[in-house]
Symmetry: D2
Subunit: 412 residues, 4 copies
């Protein structure tokens, strides 16, 4: 980070330089809540497959803000008003949109707390920061929650084509080295326009949008849902579950104080609103809390827990099979039986070792908000109508895959 007379400049291997303006933006970045994001990886355990993928939520948030500035500039150039106050609020909203993420981002989203999405937690953090900053985040929070009358501003923060997606696809592609996931961020932003308070893409940007949808799908199957990543991240979930079970049964288990609290009890959104302290404790959590546990637990006497921890640390993930149809009960049962025999574990214990889940992805969700194309004649068309290649059925189709994990225990 380099100080210039007024602003700070940060080197980004993707965009070159990102300028941080002095003022509220800068102060938010300096806040411990935000600095914590430096210790939360963007892609959980994907680095086990893609050894470059250690980039963090911190870096991603700065990248989003950089793109937001570009988008604001473009939309203003097209003749639409975005006031200075709105511009600042947009930058704040995108900067903080992921601040509620816990350790390992999505991978542990439902393992540390109960049924609380990271967006919920982001909202809680924003409100807390708003108090600290004397209401200066009011407008940002309104836009984040889509309560501001200018609806297209919310779309820049959260929609099928928000700055979040534009940054994460580009960034994840860059750091994993999966160059095929790269997208034409700059061109897409140049094609942005606003019609009737809706974000639209100019017709000549249609191929870039198609490319974006395909790249997103490719990244899902090749990176986010890569089978080794799936196996490792689901193993991590089982580790947390096993730890909670053991602790809640009274078994002593080392951990940081903050993580300990969340292992001992399953907190829900209600708990967070009733108990202000809880958010503060949550704000202490990051990837290191989990790592120090699994490093410690790899020698624990519970063979389930230690087995699973070692599988992550030494990169020997559970074996995994993926198929398009559900796994038959017989097959699952058979593997469970074999595993029980080989590892001499019981029915309850085998649940942590042999399990099956579903993963889904659809490139585009027609039912949610639309990807609108502004045709040259002024019409607005949904991308699935505007594209001569994509058809709505294929785009809308949710692709489900099923996977089965189990330990690789050699036969005697």
């Amino acid at each position: 980070m380099t100080k210039t007379k007024k602003n700070k400049i940060i080197n980004d291997p993707i965009y070159g330089f990102i300028t941080l303006e002095r003022g509220i933006i800068f102060d938010l970045i300096e806040h411990p809540y935000f600095q914590r994001l430096r210790r939360i990886t963007q892609l959980g355990l994907s680095y086990l497959v893609y050894p470059g993928a250690y980039h963090t939520r911190f870096h991603h948030a700065l990248g989003c803000m950089f793109l937001m500035k570009k988008a604001i500039q473009q939309i203003r150039n097209k003749g639409h008003e975005i006031t200075e106050k709105e511009a600042e609020a947009l930058k704040i909203a995108i900067l903080l949109h992921d601040i509620g993420h816990g350790p390992f981002s999505h991978a542990l989203e439902n393992s540390i707390v109960n049924n609380i999405s990271h967006e919920h937690l982001s909202s809680l953090f924003m409100n807390k920061l708003n108090e600290e900053f004397n209401g200066k985040l009011d407008l940002a929070i309104k836009i984040f929650n889509n309560k501001h009358p200018k609806k297209f501003l919310h779309q820049l923060v959260s929609s099928q084509l928000d700055m979040d997606r534009l940054d994460y696809l580009k960034r994840d592609s860059f750091f994993t080295g999966v160059t095929e996931g790269n997208i034409g961020t700059e061109r897409i932003i140049n094609m942005l326009d606003v019609v009737k308070d809706k974000l639209v893409i100019e017709e000549k940007g249609i191929y870039s949008i198609e490319k974006f949808l395909i790249a997103r799908r490719l990244m899902y199957w090749q990176v986010y849902l890569h089978k080794t990543v799936l196996s490792a991240e689901n193993t991590l979930i089982k580790i947390l579950k096993r730890a909670k079970d053991l602790i809640q049964k009274g078994e002593p288990l080392s951990s940081s104080k903050s993580l300990g609290l969340f292992l001992k009890k399953n907190y829900n959104l209600n708990d967070f609103t009733k108990n202000q302290e809880l958010l503060e404790v949550f704000s202490n959590l990051d990837d290191h809390d989990i790592y120090s546990c699994i490093k410690d637990w790899q020698c624990h006497s519970d063979i389930i827990l230690s087995y699973l921890c070692r599988s992550i640390l030494n990169r020997k993930p559970l074996k995994i099979k993926i198929q398009n149809t559900i796994f038959s009960e017989q097959i699952v049962e058979k593997i469970k039986q074999e595993t029980k025999n080989k590892l001499k574990i019981n029915e309850e214990e085998v649940q942590y070792m042999v399990f099956t889940e579903k993963v889904s992805n659809n490139a585009y969700q027609y039912s949610k908000d639309r990807l609108n194309i502004l045709m040259k004649n002024g019409d607005i068309k949904d991308i699935s109508d505007a594209s001569d290649q994509f058809n709505i059925e294929a785009l809308n189709k949710t692709v489900n895959k099923y996977f089965l994990c189990y330990p690789n225990v050699p036969n005697k």
Copy 2:
């Protein structure tokens, strides 16, 4: 170019260094027929839209050879034999696959000679070189013409996934700056395998193939068939046509000697086989022959010719409209009438100024050779069956577009 003890190394902004082995490969590259490709741009007049797009057939051919070496290595690693002689032949075949291109590559493919594809001319050149090199190109020619029993070798030179396409998409994307057209060349080559004498792609490369097909389509509409490029290249065709007409009517028109021959008469394939000299004359042609003509002709007394030449030189291409349906005769007639009045030209002359054409593209041609995917269970599936996203109808659909060009004559 830098000499090492044995080989020459060439800097390529895309692949880094390309090594040229001493021997026949090196001698072919030194031959004037091949050196001529330095003076033929890969993308015709696309540089009028993409000012970086001046790369040449020479550079492309070297790139293809570089990829061919990688592919040979991969396929051998997978346990399939490619003999040393076959490897050399493959490199020769891909090096020379475009040697028959005339000035401006595809743009003038049917304007200088009559109904002779550049592949035909490449064949003629290869035969000629084979004589000079005492039969050392025999096997390369066999592979090029698909007469060699190992059919998959021909596929590396010419098929839906040949080294030609892998290089040109990457290269054209690079030099135009249309980054979205970039493809995962290296990954695709790593996924190549051979089953029953057919080139296949391993299943886990399926997303890269989807990406490749989408990128190809994107490059077609965004670069190769960009409307300004379409207008300019069709204008160029009209210039040649007008010049031929004038010359054949006896009008004196300056040109290089070699080009003059082809302006005076329309030669067909038969002429080339009867008259060995013709190929030699053709081998003198490159982009400069055309440029020096249009530079000279911009002052010609024929107002059609001079108007069209100036429109290229000063980048004032004819106006162009593109639509998905054919242009009605009334509209075309109306514009012709207006143009005749404004420019005071007659019915014959207006044909050069106002014209309509069709352009087509389909991402994948099911009817031609297949893009085969090797499934994990050993099955071979066509990409359209193997992909859960693409469907055969959409892929196979030929997209037709129609364009109408006309001069931009301001009203008085």
Copy 3:
């Protein structure tokens, strides 16, 4: 080129997108004088060594303008005034700074006209355009000629660290693939400041400046003065000289009309000011005029001319030796004698075939304008004092090399 509502956007493989504002800037770019730069390569015959190096003066000029906009923004951010009028003038001045270049840029700078630098010709073109545009270029011309009171503005256009150098090093490095010549353009611009009407670099940018000086030197020896390029470009100079001699002796020699004029007579600056037409004729010249000549002349009966032309076209440049000391007269004489014998040419003719020249380069010219570093304590130091590595002697040292060219005639 893509139209948005107001501006045009151009894809640049280096910077991404370059926006062209409507108005005078846009109109200048559309002018035939400027469009001509599309047909003048930036690096002359370097493409014979670096096959990607076909980029043009047109592309470079747009790149410079892009950087100028960045620089203006930075300097304003540091609290220094650059008025809107000055900003426009800066963009015009940098856009047109190379408009006087003739075919092959520097290679033929003294072959077509006599002792007229391209800067002189750029001035003539700017004055001409200023007339056409009713004085709108007044301020740009003042800045270009360093007649504007704010001196630092001129430095942005022409100095040791102007936008010209920042662009050409980056661009030439990119297209040649000599990645080591790449420079930190963006960082350097971020470090710009102004003190007492002088451009300075903040102290923490010192390593970037050192890097820039080294990269520049590397590009000189590895690209601009690469021995094959030296040989080829000096051969080109001899071709022009021979052609002029033959023509001036009355020998008929084909060429474009415009080039013909300059072959027949050696014009100087005085001729250009007396005869307004001359500039117009010069504005018709580009690389194609030269190419069509050498293509035609390769069959000319003068064996000197035809030999040299073929050596360029078929990439068989004259052999070249480079050394740090001057070549002894005996050696030169000996080679001349051998060449005369082998090729059966006379003393006058051998001057075109065997010749020796000096090339020089120094990384930094202390005597000219300075590269000023703004130290943290507010002092201004010359880079050679501020750097702990570079010393003034080494930086200032002019490196001279000598080369000797001669034909590669095999012994019988």
Copy 4:
């Protein structure tokens, strides 16, 4: 990671794909000792300044091996024998050259153990692995320790131009986004040759070597010794020191079991050789051990420890001043006094808060092994003689800088 029939392929954002061969190489990579490197960052706390710099020793080691393969190929192409066994040994040696690094790489090199360099520890690990792999590492260890008669092999592993440096400069430049530190790895490797059992660089690679030396220097001052990084890493050292002091005084302090051992006692090389267990305990350490401590200790009752820990976690490093001369005792004393008063700490405690150190760098160490240039005439010259720019004095000059750290305590 993708399996092909025989090998595994890893995506590297820098080199594209790295192939891991089955066999000993693959088995070493799978070993927990090597997998541990996934949890040790290459650049310690540099990510506080360069938010992309989270890459690991694991990634770097794979990169080195990739370059080693290229170098082996080149040197063989130049006609020098490297047997298959030697090639494997070279790959093993470079893969394991950094395996002895502890948490935060260099930053804590002398804080966890006493006077044991990471090279020493690497040696210990290699010997241990050699036992496990039944002597298969014999030759690799010989080469690593320069006991193999072919001396140039050792130079590929460790010298002024080894594969280690070629990878880390490129990789650190890539992930920090300091593009100016990028080097021409591929070109340098292409220029490698061997003369009289010594690694040399062909003369025409001289500019690349100059560039490499300059880039290395730039990376030192701009990244490795960046003042904020210096401050943060020295703070980290003080944290470890403080923790050791407290523990050794009997103060209870949480930590992982393995780290605890090293906090309680200062082990030296002798201890490691006497007690085989110690290495095993050391092999459990990685960045997470340190992080979980400083996260926990930020609330410790010792105000020195908690202050320093918070300064890292919240990115509020100690203030730092850098200058070319030593700081006068008076100044240091004055700041210590102020700090003592403000923070109400004693003389012993202030040592952790206010301290001064020296950092040094010289681009090239003439006294150590040489960077030999193979001149065209066959002579071997040291780079400082061969280069017309660099002079031996400047290159050899050790640049010393001094820094002073102190807390930023606002005046009341």
